[in-house]
Symmetry: C2
Subunit: 193 residues, 2 copies
Amino acid sequence: MKGRPIVFKNEEMVLKAQELFWEKGYTATSLSELSAATGAGAGSLYNTFKGGKKELFKKSLYQRKEDLEDFKTVLEKSDNPIELIKAFFLSVATESKKSHFKGCIVANTIVEMTFINEELGNDAIDILKETEKLYTRTILSEQKRGNIKSKIPAPVLARHLITLWCGINTLRRVYPDKEILRQQIELQLQIIK
Amino acid sequence: MKGRPIVFKNEEMVLKAQELFWEKGYTATSLSELSAATGAGAGSLYNTFKGGKKELFKKSLYQRKEDLEDFKTVLEKSDNPIELIKAFFLSVATESKKSHFKGCIVANTIVEMTFINEELGNDAIDILKETEKLYTRTILSEQKRGNIKSKIPAPVLARHLITLWCGINTLRRVYPDKEILRQQIELQLQIIK
DNA sequence: TTAATTTTGTATCAATCATTACAAAAAAGA
DNA sequence: TCTTTTTTGTAATGATTGATACAAAATTAA
């Protein structure tokens, strides 16, 4: 292929940008910060991401959808997916302080974007709904297998996990404390039994 | 008192500003929008709120602390405060669609401010912790009276309500639906029994 | 009436915002 | 080697940001 060789790889830039967007949100993250973090100047940024800041954010958000796909694969291979989901929620408690303060970029975006940019807000909502679907399928299947005795409808239990996720991702900023978080997550996971 | 009479009352300006901050957050709300919403020009805005945008936001946030004080008074007068708290949570489900999209300005601020402005973030965290204290006191007292049989420590149950609050205030943007919200809130309130 | 005081409205400020323009750099293909 | 193509770095762009300067307006006190 002709042309000057690429030095700033698309994927690496997205990951650097994601970190910034995750911490500061869309509005408060400036192009100059993105430029400094990625190392790429405005020229490279706009050449790589023709849609500018918005496209870069979309890619950063979409990266989490791919992470979800990875988790889906792991769940499908497991013969006790419910325990895996519970372990995932509990693992949040032991993450770093910085992770606590960052929360979840998907949940953060839903909160930030509702009255700012409906398109980006809906992109985030879609990811959360996709996650919910995965939970619903898993719970329903495990109910049929008898691994979950609860008669509460699978969609309600799945939405409970989503609500817990959103709740914990705010609580962990108020209490970035392993023990407190573990206690609260355990309490709410008891509903899935 | 000497001087040209005030036409823009402090309280009214705070309420107008609060509405904007609640919807769009701190960063995305501009002074020109605040000026348009309150009707006051830059002159009046900066004369009334010497600290500018930041002070106006602080006042908007602090308004919710006063609302909390009102709720505290109602709870103290009640002989079944737990039912009042549960009714309050359930009442969220039937609010307007716009209210669903707005969520909670305190929770919103915690999410937005962590990496932007620690001071404003901590102001919001303080309000949430104050709310938690109110819940803890109420639950502990009702446990002693035998109105709550659960042996789960009052602080854990109180933090459960805070987590539920944060969770629901994101979920209601994903599902601004009366029935879904009622279902999820009811499920989680069963823990307080 | 006049002076003192405060609020209001408007013009303006420097700084920063996201984005674009464009030439130099660096490669491949002819 | 020369042309073509693409990326990169830098210098602009106009718009908007939060905040300030300041005179006119509107009141009270002297």
